[in-house]
Symmetry: C2
Subunit: 211 residues, 2 copies
DNA sequence: CCGATCTCTAAGCATATGCTTAGCACGTTG
DNA sequence: CAACGTGCTAAGCATATGCTTAGAGATCGG
């Protein structure tokens, strides 16, 4: 059985599910194959032939749905960052006080980085190879998450709920350990993505709450 | 002025210094050029011509000192992991009680990952492309750090200094935020690598100490 | 049933890539 | 000074790569 036809692992199925919600038919299969190829081999290591093979198509078929390899990557990076950002920001909208907002945001964000670790890691590792105007949307999304967390911390300080002498440093620290989940997590891990989310939210709150 | 001849940034000079202690003459220049090229462009994105240009040599000259591109990478990964491991484990030898050992280890390790962020990140991001027998030394070094920290936590629990219900989870968490320093740190950051080291050691101790 | 359209493949083009070969300059040694 | 070894370069080889072209098969409206 050729590599690209073996049964999907749990982690890979999460990538498949991600794209089945966001693209139909051949485009979805290509986006799935490309995400997995980029994740396994790196951007330059994943040839268009490899991506095509993992999508079950010929190399030329890819170019009917996407203008170029970079275009494919841009699409994956954009949708990936959109989902990651939404995982952080959207749940916080359900609460009004800073503590609950932070708890909801971190629970969801850390869980997303565990559950979607292939996509998250691929985005994080390969984005540095792609700067410039074309990727300004992605850069905006990244700044959005940072600003949202920064504001949340400052809000907590001003209401007296949080004790954070250095909000900028705390923002970096919290985002850092959440994002890094994608580097080490895998779906055979003894704890579920949700359990990671809860653990990390407890950690974040213990760092910022007055004691 | 061509790209490979512009003055080195502070971060790049740290790479240069690293290799000047570990290789002489042309080999050192090649290892420096290759480390920077791999870091900027990824393993497959860094062509042997690019590496040669950054070393100020012709492509063929590289092959006098190294058998292949993968050989070059293996050398960088091995020496990088050796230094990273030493930064973690060696300082702990100066103390006997678990708390001080942990403080020394984390201070040094987090500072190393900040100071050497180009090398550390390059190792972390590109190693996943290289498994197999040839890289077993690197894998052994990585396991060594994990086992050392795990033992340190268990020692602290058994002497009564630490309160850690889940040493495996704590090990992962502490290594995670230390390693991730390399992803976001840069030498224009408002705090020095040493300051990061101290901050992170405080954080690690606050997580494990009885309170 | 015919033509149009949409999706895909086989083959190919130009260039980039990892690595090799042949040879040159230069310092050292007999 | 000649012979040699060392560290390098220019040029080249075989293959891999991103992408294009020409055309095949299937589907659908008229």
């Amino acid at each position: 059985m050729p590599e690209h036809e073996r049964p999907r692992l749990a982690s890979e199925r999460r990538v498949e599910d991600f794209w089945s919600d966001r693209a139909h038919g051949a485009a979805g299969r290509i986006l799935t194959g490309a995400t997995l190829a980029f994740a396994d081999l790196g951007y330059h290591g994943a040839s268009t032939r490899e991506i095509a093979a993992r999508s079950g198509m010929s190399p030329a078929a890819v170019y009917i749905h996407f203008e170029s390899k970079e275009d494919l990557f841009l699409r994956i990076a954009t949708e990936g960052h959109r989902a990651s950002t939404a995982a952080f920001i959207d749940p916080a909208g359900l609460a009004t006080d800073p503590s609950t907002k932070l708890r909801l945001a971190i629970t969801s964000f850390a869980a997303w980085n565990a559950d979607m670790h292939i996509l998250s890691r691929m985005i994080e590792y390969e984005m540095r190879l792609h700067g410039g105007e074309r990727f300004s949307d992605v850069a905006r999304l990244r700044r959005g998450v940072e600003q949202f967390l920064r504001s949340l911390l400052e809000e907590g300080v001003s209401t007296g709920a949080f004790d954070v002498p250095d909000p900028e440093g705390m923002k970096i620290l919290i985002l850092s350990f959440c994002i890094d989940v994608a580097r080490w997590y895998h779906h055979d891990f003894r704890r579920s993505p949700t359990a990671i989310g809860v653990q990390y939210a407890d950690l974040a709150l213990s760092l910022v709450l007055k004691h």
